[in-house]
Amino acid sequence: MGESLEHDASAHSPTVTKPGRAAILASGLGLCHRGKWPLRSVTFSVDTSAGAVGIAGAHGSGKTALFALLGGFAPPARGELWVLGKDMRTYRGRDTIRRRVGLIPPPGRPLGFTVLELVTHAAWLLGLPVSHRRASVAGALQRLQLANWVSASINAAPDDVALRAWLAACTVHEPDLILVDGLLDGIAEDDALAMAGCLRSLAVSTALLVAGRDAARLARCCARVFTLTDGIADGG
């Protein structure tokens, strides 16, 4: 597997070689946002083809900032980052990865939407061509076992259905890498178990990183769980 996550104590980032297509490699990674450094210095390498990877950390530890970098939504302020073979320091690399990544933010229940409308709207937001949109939506609903809930209101649906609909919406474009941020936090134990099962099934075919506050919950769906503390990766 070859995962390693270590605290980069030195101020200098070591130069890394271009990793493989299924790998994520970070070296001295840092992110500055509004004058603060939510991510200070992270060095790790992950082979995403070897099962889901969990990143545990308390609120404000830098999980969302790390996923923003991994998803190509922000450039690194310092250090190096390679995702699926693309250099994230370049705009072209980030733009390519943004198309191939499914970043799943903390779940929500959009007002007035049915399950089908939410997934269809997400397909439109993600820029899927009209010709493929219907098939992609149907595929996402099938993968997350939502075929019987298409006309259910998100607000009135059971919690696990709403969570699966959220997951289906964010993965309707069948990304190569799924980044799940906080999906398992703040939900009931039964729902967490159900979602862990869903994530395990997704991890069979897609590289998956799951971030959350509770390492024990992450362990249910992830082959390996690392810890992020105050913007610094210090163990795994």
Partner: protein, 432 residues
């Protein structure tokens, strides 16, 4: 265009926006209707005034719906997509604005239908006034949206790593027309500009509050200026929200352009609200038998009852120096010199009892004419007699008490009040 988003918003947000806007609009317009006046120009004023109630409600509802969407997670989802981060919120804004305009249209339709049911209507429907009202409502919706975006930008950092000063620049740019408006409002309030006229600048800046007079027309260009101001304000708010959402510089250019339009409209509005009205150009409507009575066109429906009321008074003074031959309605503040047999009267609306008010005005003038005639003929001793109370009471067909009669003609006091219907006026006039 995301049809799924349109369907969801149309099902959820549109009724929440439409129903209160329509109800508050109709209530506000009904309250603003001038009593008894059924001209289209009065209807236009009432519809424009309806925004005073429905506009703030629409702004609040837009802000609440926008923040609710953001808090429900939809905003996060939209910012992660390939589309512009502003696409989804702007579609939602479009749905909210459409629903608000639908409520405004319902208001206009209801008031227009009520007006149409009142019978013959004077004037023509004022499209500029209606458009200014719609633009004012849109400006309220856009400002509510901008406030919500500012709130959400504070709650949810849009994209880590992006420079925050863009939000500050958006706020600063959006504040330009608002600051200009506030400064003008303060200046107008201090200098008194617009007071006593049909539309003051402070009221036109945020929620239109116009008071149309039957004797005046709106100055051409007033509502075009208001339309320009509200459109510029709405565009500035929308573009500022887009800038907050996307942090793209092209929105800053649009914001500058919208601010210029708003400031131009504000300048025009300030110039026009200084003298917002012009004397009405329409000629009076007259009825010549049995008495010539002329009124402004908006009062044409009141002619039969006015004619009846005035004729009763005229019959009592027929053949006297105060005889009534013609009566003309005068604009407020206009006390035109009377000509022999000619009188004027003032009437601002057709609220309950309008004919009594008009008759009272005529009686006051006739009484004055009688007194002048008496003074010119009678001896100083006779002139000293106080005939005015009895004469006035009689002309007004009010009960004349014995005290008044005693003071006037020196007759023995009587405890039985004498009610005059006006028929025995010659007996009273015989004291001349």
């Amino acid at each position: 265009m995301s049809l799924a988003l349109l369907a969801a918003e149309g099902r959820y947000a549109a009724p929440i926006m439409l129903v209160p806007v329509a109800i508050l609009g109709i209530a506000g317009a009904w309250r603003a209707l001038t009593p008894g006046m059924t001209g289209w120009d009065f209807t236009g004023d009432a519809i424009l005034d309806s925004v005073r109630g429905s506009g703030p409600a629409a702004a609040g509802l837009t802000a609440w719906l926008t923040i609710a969407s953001e808090r429900s997670g939809l905003g996060r989802l939209e910012r992660l997509g390939r589309r512009s981060a502003a696409a989804g919120p702007l579609i939602r804004l479009g749905v909210a604005a459409s629903a608000a305009l639908a409520g405004y249209t319902l208001t206009a339709g209801a008031i227009a239908a009520w007006t149409g049911a009142q019978g013959p209507i004077t004037g023509s429907f004022p499209p500029q006034e209606l458009a200014a009202g719609a633009a004012a409502l849109l400006a309220h919706v856009a400002l509510g949206f901008l406030v919500a975006m500012l709130w959400c930008a504070r709650c949810y950092p849009v994209r880590p790593g992006q420079p925050f000063p863009a939000v500050g620049a958006a706020v600063a740019a959006a504040a330009v027309p608002a600051a200009a408006a506030t400064a003008s409002w303060a200046l107008a309030a201090w200098s008194g500009t617009g007071r006593g006229s049909g539309a003051s600048l402070p009221s036109m800046l945020w929620s239109p509050d116009v008071h149309h007079s039957p004797f005046t027309d709106w100055r051409s260009g007033l509502f075009v200026a208001a339309l320009t101001w509200f459109c510029g304000l709405a565009a500035a708010a929308i573009v500022a929200a887009g800038l907050i959402l996307t942090r793209r510089h092209r929105y800053a250019i649009g914001l500058a352009a919208a601010s210029i339009v708003a400031v131009v409209g504000l300048g025009q509005l300030r110039a026009d609200t200084g003298h917002p009205i012009t004397p009405v150009t329409a000629s009076v409507v007259c009825r010549s038998w049995p008495l010539e009575v002329c009124v402004y066109p908006a009062f044409a429906s009141a002619l039969p009852r006015l004619e009846s009321a005035f004729t009763a008074v005229a019959a009592q003074v027929s053949g006297t120096p105060a005889a009534v031959r013609s009566i003309v309605q005068l604009p407020p503040g206009d006390n035109a010199s009377q000509w022999p047999g000619g009188y004027g009267f003032h009437l601002d609306d057709l609220g309950p009892g309008y004919e009594l008010r008009a008759e009272s005005d005529l009686v006051r003038q006739v009484t004055g004419a009688l007194n002048r005639a008496n003074r010119s003929r009678a001896s100083p001793d006779q002139t000293h007699l106080n005939r005015t109370p009895l004469g006035t009471a009689t002309l007004r067909r009010e009960p004349v008490t014995a005290d008044i009669g005693a003071a006037t003609i020196g007759s023995p006091p009587s405890r039985r009040p004498v009610t005059h219907g006006g028929a025995d006026l010659p007996a009273i006039l015989a004291i001349r």
